[in-house]
Amino acid sequence: MSGTTRRGGAVRRAGVHVVLWGYAAVALLPLLVMVWNSFRTDQELVSEPLGLPVAPSFDAYREAWVEASFSTYFLNSVLVTTASVLLSTAVSLLAAYALARSRSRLMTVIEQVFVSGLMMPVFLMIVPIFYLLDMIGLASTRTGLILVYAAVSIPFSVFVLATFLRQLPDELEDAARIDGAGPLRTFWSVLLPLVRPAVATVVVFRFVPIWNDFFYPLILVRDRERYTLPVGLTTFFGEYQTSWSTLFAGLVIATLPLVVLFLVATRQIVAGLTAGMGR
């Protein structure tokens, strides 16, 4: 190799470095603003919206956690998000298996109906959903919220899982069938272990929006004991006054579990996407 290309390569690598670290700064800067503002008081925030915390204060965290009954909201959020993601992933897996392994025309139609759910503006459905829950006695309950979240997650989950299942070779299933295993058994012991990465993808890409969503519970839940974290956060927004430092502290608390989940799951997600989206 000649000297010029080696130098060119070094320059190129440096350039790539600058781009990557530069973009990382852009991605993180606003988040840092959020974190350091959570250590400042509302008064400091108003007099200087973007200053550094002079004397870091944890008051906002204390207030967010205690005053806003964050412990209750936190548990509700964990319960509602986990249960709805598990439920939707379970039923979507079964459905995706059926869609991927059946050649009936009917199935194509059903799949399209499922996917159309992805295109429905949520604000249009929310009022009818409330009346529905009200009618069956599930308004203001965590069960109602779980069922609704699970249902609206189905389009995305089925879309990703069915695409993934179609990639899997069917020899293993043939072998299982020859061994005398029924469809459920085949699904359970042959396919399920193979779809783990795709499941991780679906879980994370549904977990994050449900964890952050305030719209559904705001409209569907009236009982403060059953609020989730983001609805709790909305109570810091006033008509004339917003308690920004408490809000930021609450958001930091709310976002941390997601960061952990994400750190743990990226390897699985990327593997899942590799197989699921790569076709």
Binding site: Y23, R101, F114, V122, A151, I154, T266, I269
Partner: protein, 306 residues
Amino acid sequence: MSRRRTAALPTPVALLFLLPAAVLFGVFVLYPMATALTYSLFSWRGTAQEAFVGLDNFVALFTTEPYRTELPRAFGHNALLFAGAMAAQNSVGLLLAVLLHQRERFRRLFQVLFTMPYLVSPLVVGYLWSLLLSPLFGPVNALLRAVGLDAVAQPWLGDPDTALWVVVLVTAWQWVGFPLLVYGAALGALDPSTQEAAMLDGAGAAQRFRHVTLPLLTPVIGTVSVLTFIFSMEAFPIPYALGGSSGSPAGATDVMSLLFYRTAFHSGASNAIGVSSAVAIVLFLVIVGVSVAFTRWFRGVERRLT
């Protein structure tokens, strides 16, 4: 691409597997969807449903003010959001994915860093950015002036010519992790032998990308594009946080979901539910129509490329 002949599941068994999802989806999505559709076919007095009026609400949307003017304008802005997302978010996502794909070190760290904004509640994304872009206190303009780019410093959100692009860029900032991860995964799935073959043929990096990698990525690009289109048409939290319910300044950031919000909850009009439901149904139909047409067209492109 022809579907692989798979071990066919007998239809009755398949239907049984479908049942739980179908019940859940039918009850909590399809039924409310159908109910919402009927809302748009009636006239309303406040919250009380009155006479069946067929398509009158839709006719009103296209023939009476303010909807006749605002509907196409809002759709135009949604279309620009989509174009902007394709240009900014998806291309940056692809670029970053390619850069990361070429190096092992720190790959996962960068993936997590770039995806962090996706984890933050949309409740505050708009607020944070309007602080950063404020013409009074914002560090963005201060930074531009500090490096001598005074001419580039703008009242970003105060100028109708730039406000919508700020919405595009903030949305891209939050969502770039999505194309990044998807493209990253797709690149990881590509067969490395094709790359090596091209390299042996003496193809440069740019050529390899253009002639080998890109065609293989086409199906993924299609999927990402459709999803981006859907997200762009339904954009709400970021436009609302940056431009308010009327799409400030002077309607420059008005989009369909804001039009719906204003019509439904921000006017004293008697028939607000009827007209606003019609707005949402029109939006739904456009999304479905364009998505289906795009997918068909894209399948054709794919076939020609492969």
